[in-house]
């Protein structure tokens, strides 16, 4: 997960927490990689140095070899930084997943929905432009390689498009839920 600092900020914007709990949550969010606890503690240190988060409660004295369980909370500067990041369009799909994970009912999700819509349209256009490779009965090595590449690229693109379509549906549901909550 490339944006651990943003993830930590987003989690602390919900409620104060300590490093171990933050690491556990982030591991649950990760699909195909294991997040090292050291990366999370490093992110916490950098955020604390930048005064984006602060210690609000000291943990009990740690036993030998353990990290102290201090409780951290987001600061006003941290909130500004988080808001700035959330107002920008996501750069990658991973970035989008993270934003969905830390979204709050008060957040305006339309930036994300528009991004997903555009990304889906672009992916669909690439799918439409990708030529279907010809299947030859006596395939040469080169044509077999080209077929393999074209098939794999197409499956990657189509899986991405389906993922984006699903993200679109989920974001619209969250958007409706947030609107209903605001109306209630």
């Amino acid at each position: 997960m490339a944006m651990i600092q943003e993830a930590v900020l987003g989690l602390l914007a919900r409620e104060p927490s300590h490093g171990y709990a933050l690491w556990q949550t982030l591991q649950g969010w990760s699909v195909d990689e294991t997040i090292q606890s050291s990366s999370v503690y490093m992110a916490i240190k950098r955020l604390a140095d930048a005064e984006a988060i602060e210690v609000v409660a000291l943990g009990p004295a740690p036993r030998h070899g353990e990290r102290p369980r201090h409780t951290f909370a987001i600061t006003a500067a941290g909130r500004d930084r988080l808001d700035r990041w959330l107002s920008q369009r996501p750069a990658t799909v991973e970035d989008l997943r993270l934003r969905i994970a830390i979204a709050q009912p008060a957040d305006d999700l339309s930036v994300l929905i528009d991004w997903v819509n555009q990304a889906l349209v672009d992916t669909q256009r690439r799918l439409g432009a990708a030529p279907a490779a010809a299947v030859e009965e006596t395939a040469s090595w080169d044509s077999a390689c080209a077929l393999a590449m074209s098939t794999l690229s197409f499956h990657e693109l189509s899986a991405r498009a389906q993922w984006l379509a699903e993200a679109n549906a989920q974001l619209r549901r969250l958007h409706e839920l947030a609107t209903a909550n605001r109306g209630a």
């Binding site: 439409g128 279907a132 189509s158 389906q162 379509a165 549901r173």
Partner: protein
């Protein structure tokens, strides 16, 4: 290029007990003559409903459906039926109701309203020949493989030479060679006759080689850039509406 199918702000809602199920919301798309269009939606995502709206089988609660320049909402029942019979072909994976019916008779049935049986069956054999399956004229549905069934369903939908051919999930269950064969066939049909083809699939990978791909997401149609509106535009449109 002539616009063969135009959906404008179409909405369809079903009721499941007391709960409304909005299958299509403000769905808009335009399909032109000779175009091959793919629509993806996950299983239960509204593909069949969308095709049924395009075929005039389901009347939407909201929006306009224009086929070959004629607004279905403004036509009487008889003229709608005439328009649809002469203009639209719908191919599904559902076979004939009579299990032992030879394929050539099944395909010829739609023509028998206007033609003698012998002429209708001759045209049906030609349609079967165009999908390369005229040898199966006397076979019943149960003897056919998945790919033969979908090809014959397409032959049946195309026998009246429609302007718009709608195909529900044609490629699922087919291997890659069969898929490419089917796609090549649809392509040659669009370029030879100018028919517009809309095919729906529940796996995006089944749409390989289709020029224009749309997604049906939560009732919304997301398509090529010129057609898709941003959320802000959609909100403005619904306010104006």
């Amino acid at each position: 290029m002539t616009c063969v199918l135009s959906l404008d702000g179409v909405g369809v809602c079903y009721w499941r007990g007391h709960r409304p199920l909005q299958v299509l919301r403000d769905a808009s798309m335009h399909v032109h003559a000779g175009e091959l269009v793919g629509v993806w939606a996950k299983a239960g995502g509204g593909k069949t409903t969308l095709l049924e709206v395009c075929a005039g089988v389901v009347t939407p609660e909201e929006g306009r459906v224009v086929i070959n320049g004629q607004d279905l909402g403004g036509l009487g029942k008889r003229r709608t039926t005439e328009l649809l019979q002469s203009t639209v072909g719908l191919a599904t994976r559902q076979g004939p109701a009579i299990p032992d019916l030879p394929m050539v008779t099944w395909i010829a049935l739609g023509l028998m309203r206007h033609l003698h049986r012998r002429d209708a069956e001759r045209r049906a054999r030609q349609a079967m020949g165009r999908v390369g399956l005229d040898a199966l004229a006397d076979e019943p549905w149960r003897n056919l493989s998945d790919s033969e069934r979908i090809l014959l369903a397409i032959a049946r939908a195309a026998v009246c030479e429609p302007r718009l051919l709608l195909i529900d999930d044609p490629t699922s269950g087919l291997d890659m060679t069969e898929r490419l064969h089917l796609l090549g066939l649809l392509r040659s049909m669009t370029s030879a006759t100018g028919v517009a083809v809309v095919m729906a699939a529940s796996d995006m990978a089944d749409l390989q080689g289709v020029e224009s791909v749309w997604s049906l997401v939560d009732g919304h149609l997301v398509g090529p850039p010129q057609e898709s509106a941003t959320v802000v535009e959609l909100a403005q449109r619904s306010k104006r509406g």
